[in-house]
Amino acid sequence: MNDIWLGLLNAFKLILSFDADLFEIVLLSLQVTLSAVLIASLIGLPLGALLAVNRFRFRRAAIALLNSLMGLPPVVVGLIVYILFSRSGPLGVFGLLFTPTAMIIAQVIIITPLIASIAHQALRDLWSEYHDLLISLNTSKRQRMMTLIWDSRRSLLTASLAGFGRAIGEVGAIMIVGGNIDHVTRVLTTAIALETGKGDFALALGLGFILIGLAIAVNMAIHALSRTERTGQW
């Protein structure tokens, strides 16, 4: 127990001291994860809508595959991205390995299936409700997808936040492709892993509590902005 109290104390000390290194790490964590969530949402939400609205031959197989990709092991994703972007790899010319961009790419791969899958679930339910009306009104496929996405935006927020939750706490993939380089690619999770390895549990725990607080703060801010649970029933 003593260690945990010490960790909490450390977290407060770090925050109150306005430590420049800490702020750099927090900022990079947010920057990488929010970019990844934004990009993954732009891919995943329309993908979920497409799977809900379209009937095609391998639809069931596609949905099953998407659901299983939700459990994609981050370490493996990191490894694959590493190989692709390493100097001798097919995408090596871009020189992206050990940059925040590579970390964003890895996270997008990890959370896009999660966001698409949860979105598909919500959109499929709404589609069965709207089906007759939207067919009757002679809407195009694109209009159907846009209508479904707009009208279930509150449920889709949950999908994106689930993606955020997975990405902000992720360490395996970004450690491999980012390299945990001080002032370049060090984020909260990789810093925690490093301090734990060094045996500085108090500092690691302090960073851990800051990470948890950050996740809670972002969720609350987004809920407040989108006014969930305030109006209507969705």
Binding site: L133, L137, N138, T147, D151, G232, Q233, W234
Partner: protein
């Protein structure tokens, strides 16, 4: 006004099967360009499926449904009011405006027209409410306004006043009467014989997926040709 009409509509030996069950059994019918057709018959006679077939929500297993124009053209000039109105997760105003925005109207223009329609059907006070908060009668009025805002040549209504009280039913009938007198062709199903007498100019009577009778309202209510229709009007239970 539109110069050409999508009517007459012809059904030739149309058959609909669902999960191996025969729902519509070789019906041939012609709907003329004017009038208010009431489709009657016991539960499971195929009334709803007939409407859905004509509207294009069901495909005929065999036979044909043909309009006096191309299928695409016909599709955009008809509207359907479902038995359980589908409320979109939007305000009343945006629900009514939706068909116009789908067709490419600007949001402000669509909302302006929607506000007029909301007032027409008696929802003028509820514009900004979420549609999901409306009562049963109000939901049906919203659905009718949403159907009429696109100025359809033909409007289908599937038991629009089932489960509504007398006041709502009277208000909805008044809306339908006024749309009919301004030239909208209507095809509507109902279980309410009194309502059919009030509204119908012609009656289509179905039983077990077959067409039993298609005659003018006077003929149907004064002296129906078919035994099934006579029995139904006398309040007997059709097996």
């Amino acid at each position: 006004m539109v110069s050409t009409t999508i009517l007459p509509l012809r059904l030739e030996n149309a058959v609909v099967r669902k999960r191996g069950k025969l729902i519509i059994d070789a019906i041939s019918l012609t709907f003329e360009p004017t009038g208010m057709t009431i489709v009657m018959g016991p539960n499971g006679a195929g009334k709803t499926t007939l409407l859905r077939l004509i509207h294009g929500l069901e495909r005929p297993r065999s036979g044909r449904v043909s309009w006096n124009c191309s299928a695409d053209d016909a599709q955009s000039r008809q509207a359907f009011v479902f038995q359980t109105p589908i409320m979109m997760r939007r305000s009343v105003l945006d629900n009514i405006a939706y068909p116009l925005t789908v067709r490419g109207s600007s949001k402000s223009e669509a909302r302006k027209q929607a506000a007029d329609w909301a007032i027409n059907v008696g929802l003028g006070d509820a514009l900004q409410l979420e549609a999901a908060n409306l009562s049963g009668g109000e939901r049906q009025k919203l659905a009718i306004a949403r159907a009429l805002i696109g100025k359809p040549d033909i409007l289908f209504l599937d038991e629009p006043t089932t489960n509504l009280d007398g006041k709502s039913t009277r208000e909805i009938e008044a809306i339908l009467q006024s749309a009919h007198s301004s030239g909208t062709r209507m095809i509507m199903t109902t279980h309410d014989i009194g309502q059919a007498r009030r509204l119908a100019t012609e009656v289509v009577f179905l039983n077990k997926g077959r067409l039993c009778e298609h005659s003018t309202a006077e003929v149907f209510f004064e002296g129906p040709h078919s035994d099934a229709a006579r029995a139904y009007l006398n309040g007997e239970i059709l097996e």
